[in-house]
Each structure stands twice: as C-alpha cells, then as structure tokens.
C-alpha cells in the first residue's frame, strides 16, 4: 500500500460494518455513505439529554438544544471555512437546499432573466431551475465535451448579460468529474451573476473552502458525508443570503406577523421555517467535526490508489464502456460504465449476489444519460472505508456477470 491509511481501524467507527452477518463490498457511496459513530453518539446524547425545541424556550432542555444546534452550525462553518456561522442554513437535504434558492430567487427574477446549468446535472440541480421557465425565466444549458465534462469554451457564449445565476455540480454523481470552477466564477463575476455549487458528492471526499472557491451558494446532504439522513446544508455568502426572501414560511423565521403582512428574520433563521431537523443537525455537526480532523492527504491518496486499481481492472474487461474523464485527477472516485449490452439492473443484481453493492440506473441524470446515448449505467463509488478486497470483488463479479448474463 502506498500510504498508511488503516481501513480496518477506520471501519471500526462505522457501526454497520460491525453488524454484518455476511460480507459486504459497499460501493454505492455516491447514493448514501455509511454513518460514522460520531453521528450516532451525538444524536443519542442529544435526544436523551438535551431534547427540546430550539430558539423558543428558556428552560434548560430548550437552552441545551439551542446550544447544541448552534454548535452544529459552527461545526459546519468550520468544515466549510465559512466567514461566519450566519452563512450556514440547515435544510432537510441538498434537494431542499436547491429548491430553497430556486424558490426564493423565483420571487426576484423577471421574465427574460437567465439561469445557466449544465447537461450533467443531477435532477435536483436541474428541475428546480427548469421549473422557473413557467414564470418566463430562460434556462440555458452548458453542453459537455465528449468525456462528459462541462465544455467551458462555451461559457462566454452562454453566460450573457441577463444571466442571474450559474448552478453547477462541484462534482458529477455519474462520472465523478470535478468542475473546473475558475472560468465559471470569472464568467459569473463578469456579468454580476451568482454561482451555486452542488457539493452533494464532493463533501465526502474533501473540504471545500468557501472563502477560496468564490461561489455564492454551496449545498450538500448529511447522508452522503457519513452523517444522518434528514439534514442538509445551504451555505450562502452573507450578501447573497441577505438579498433572498424566504422560501418556506412558518414558525421561527419571522419578525412580526400581522394580519395583512409579515416581516422576516435575518439569515440564517429566515430560511429555517418550523422546527428544524435538530438532532440530525447535531449529528451532522459531529461528523464534520470528526472529518475536519482527518488526515485528508492520506484518505485521498488511499481513495486514488483504489480508484486507479478499479479503473485499470475495468479497462481490462472486454466490452466495458467507461464514462467520464480519462484523467483520474479530474474526478472523484466515482465511475459509471456499461458492460456490453448487459442491462445495469441485471449486472447489479448478479453483483449483489456476490455481496457487491452497486447502483444501476439513470442516477437522476437523464439528460446526461441521453448525452451518452445510454438509458442507464452501472456506477461504483468509493469511500475512505473501502479496500482492495472491495475493488477486487467488483472486478471478479463483473467477469462473472459477463459469463452469466451474456
């Protein structure tokens, strides 16, 4: 092994691994990663010692709940290197966070205003923008290079004076391709447009730096970065959040409520209507506090080593078609492929019998599937707890699937 990452030690803190009654080669991390011990512990501690509603009561449980919730916000801010904790909004997930920004911007956009996305987006970062068409907003779609990367040479042609926002994935959930942000930020700045990055995939594999990236909004989900389901994050640059009206409205996000008209609280509360996912935010905060202290160089080189082995093995299987960038450094350890004409569901089924968990389907990216000329793909996605045995089980299983299914 080219580095010192000890997978079995690392796995010990993922309780699912301790509970297995049969082998598991879990390679569906892009859909949902396994939950880390720190989240279990923090949520249990919270729900058994500090359960109360937040921001509302002044008895001790409520105070403790509010403190835990706000500490979690601070943990997220630290992980993202945000400027202030007020830039962190808790949501129920990535999809909810993107709908929040799209819905709130919807109140501000005028017919003819333009939103730019790419053909490679997850439906969650496509449909909320597409839907704004109903109010006369124009959706402009960045095309892709043959590798499935966003074709940046077309930015000047597509990002025009009416562009209000560019919404792109930080990394693709299908190909793992990492978006080259420098030209995107420059193009947006040139026309005064905002930039939203969908970090659902990225955050599991590293710390995105809000002060360095130059984006205005960044979103991700707890369940994809070893945290709980039911919680996600919207980071918004202070000025960017300040100009947005709320998306959902209700308890906890108001100034004054009167019969005719109401006023809103300042961010982040303006965007957190109702009782938030308190325990889940606390769990996510704990996971990010753990992640922030990880030896990232080591984890990343471990993942790269496995990914190299996986790609090399896949290239050796006759009839495999790999999607995505040829250069491994331009992508997360996520790969989509097809095995000849075999249907991805059949392939995944055979692999599941061999304890390899993959995902087959369109991965909520139908426009991208169409671009590649396929209905669906098989996807393998690695996390830091995967090991060589996982990769080898996948490769052997694919050979087997080819024989069984062909």
């Amino acid at each position: 092994m080219p580095n010192d990452h000890d997978v079995s030690a690392f796995r010990r803190d993922f309780p699912l691994y301790a509970n297995l009654d049969r082998p598991l080669h879990y390679l569906d991390n892009a859909a949902t990663a396994q939950m880390h011990q720190s989240a279990f512990d923090a949520m249990r501690r919270h729900d058994t010692q500090a359960r109360g509603n937040v921001l509302r009561g002044n008895h001790r449980l409520a105070e403790a709940a509010t403190e835990a919730y706000e500490n979690a916000r601070a943990g997220v801010a630290r992980y993202l290197n945000a400027t202030t904790v007020e830039e962190i909004v808790f949501t129920s997930g990535t999809t909810a966070a993107i709908n929040l920004v799209a819905g709130a911007m919807g109140y501000l956009l005028r017919p003819g205003d333009e939103i730019v996305v790419s053909l490679a987006e997850h439906h969650s970062n496509f449909l909320p923008w597409q839907r704004l068409q109903e109010q006369g907003v124009v959706l402009r779609v960045l095309p892709l290079t043959s590798e499935g990367r966003i074709d940046m040479s077309l930015l000047p042609a597509i990002v025009g004076g009416r562009c209000r926002l560019i919404a792109l994935s930080h990394a693709s959930n299908v190909t793992g391709a990492i978006t080259d942000l420098v030209p995107v930020i420059a193009a947006a700045r040139a026309v005064g447009a905002r930039v939203l990055l969908d970090g659902a995939q990225y955050v599991q594999h590293g710390r995105p730096d809000m002060q360095a990236l130059g984006a205005d909004f960044y979103v991700f989900s707890g369940h994809k970065c070893f945290g709980p389901t039911g919680v996600g994050v919207l980071w918004g640059r202070r000025e960017a959040l300040a100009e947005l009206p709320p998306f959902m409205v209700g308890g906890g996000m108001v100034g004054r409520v009167a019969l005719r008209e109401s006023t809103w609280a300042e961010p982040p509360r303006r965007f957190e209507a109702g009782t938030p996912p308190i325990a889940q935010a606390v769990g996510l905060g704990a996971v990010l506090d753990w992640l922030v202290g990880q030896p990232w160089e080591q984890l990343r080189s471990h993942e790269e080593h496995l990914f190299e082995r996986l790609l090399a093995g896949l290239r050796n299987i006759p009839g495999v078609r790999l999607l995505g960038p040829a250069d491994r450094r331009e992508r997360l350890p996520v790969v989509s492929f097809n095995l000849g004409e075999l249907h991805p569901h059949d392939v995944c089924q055979v692999l599941d019998e061999r304890h390899v968990a993959l995902r087959g389907g369109h991965h909520c990216a139908q426009p991208l599937m169409e671009f590649f000329g396929v209905a669906a793909t098989v996807r393998a996605s690695l996390a830091a707890y995967n090991d060589v045995a996982d990769v080898d089980a996948l490769l052997a299983g694919l050979e087997h699937a080819r024989q069984v299914l062909a």
Binding site: R22, H343, H345, D346, E353, Q366, M369, A376, V404, L405
Partner: protein
C-alpha cells in the same frame, strides 16, 4: 446468500434469459386497436405494447421492450400467452403476478413460466421491472 441459493438464482436467471431472448411477440402491429408506452422511472426502461382485439378478446399483440432481463422476459410472456385473453383475464393475471412477487402466491396454472420470477421476490426494487409490461398491456386495453 448460501451457495445453493446462489446457484438456484443463476439457474433461474438462465430461464429468464431464455425467455427474454426468445422475445415472443417482439415488433409492431400495422393497425393496432390499442397501445401503450410505459416507462420505469427508476432506470429509464420502456415498454410499448400494441394489440388488436375482436369481441373483447386479444387477437394480436406486439411488444417492444428496452429493459432488463426481467422486464424483457415478462414482455416475452405476454407475447406467448396474451392472445385469446379478455381484458378481465389480463387484469386478473397481472394481479396473480403481483401476488406471486409480493405475497408468495404460486404461479397460475396457465402461466406456469411465472415461476421464473420467484427469485425476484426478495428484491422489491425489481418487481416494477416484472410488472411493467403487464401494466402497459392493461393500459393498452383500457
């Protein structure tokens, strides 16, 4: 999964494979009386069913299926057995198929090949693949 079960799954897979490759009823009809095009929203699979009927009974059926083995095998079964059936019978047999998958019911006597789908029982995510052609036919009949 035990090796025995695994072996059984493989064997059944072969049965499914044969059915799927046979692709009974594959193609289009020139002048269908009814047709339906259905998608599986999870994988983009797509089934087109076309039929003609006379006196309430299916007289011809054609299917075009872009899908997994389970889906293609199921469509192929329609090509094999649907002609001569009434809409009512199809509704019932669709239900039998669902019962076989979800409630451990046995295969109906006149559709014995349904038993190839028994290994799909624990895989609820695949039930839709098996049922899709039957949903499409039901829709084409209505």
């Amino acid at each position: 999964m035990s090796d025995a079960l695994y072996q059984q799954a493989i064997n059944t897979l072969w049965g499914i494979k044969d059915l799927a490759s046979a692709a009974h009823g594959a193609g289009r009809l020139v002048a269908p009386d009814g047709s339906a095009l259905l998608d599986n929203p999870f994988c983009g699979d797509r089934v087109r069913i076309e039929i003609t009927r006379h006196n309430g009974v299916i007289t011809a059926l054609a299917q075009e299926t872009k899908g997994c083995l389970l889906c293609r095998a199921s469509a192929s079964l329609l090509g094999l057995h649907a002609v001569g059936r009434s809409a009512e019978e199809i509704v019932n047999v669709r239900q039998s198929l669902e019962d076989l998958l979800r409630h451990n019911a046995p295969a109906p006597q006149d559709w014995p090949e349904f038993s190839v789908f028994i290994p799909a029982r624990p895989h609820a995510s695949r039930h839709g693949c098996v049922l899709l052609p039957f949903e499409a036919l039901t829709q084409a009949l209505s």
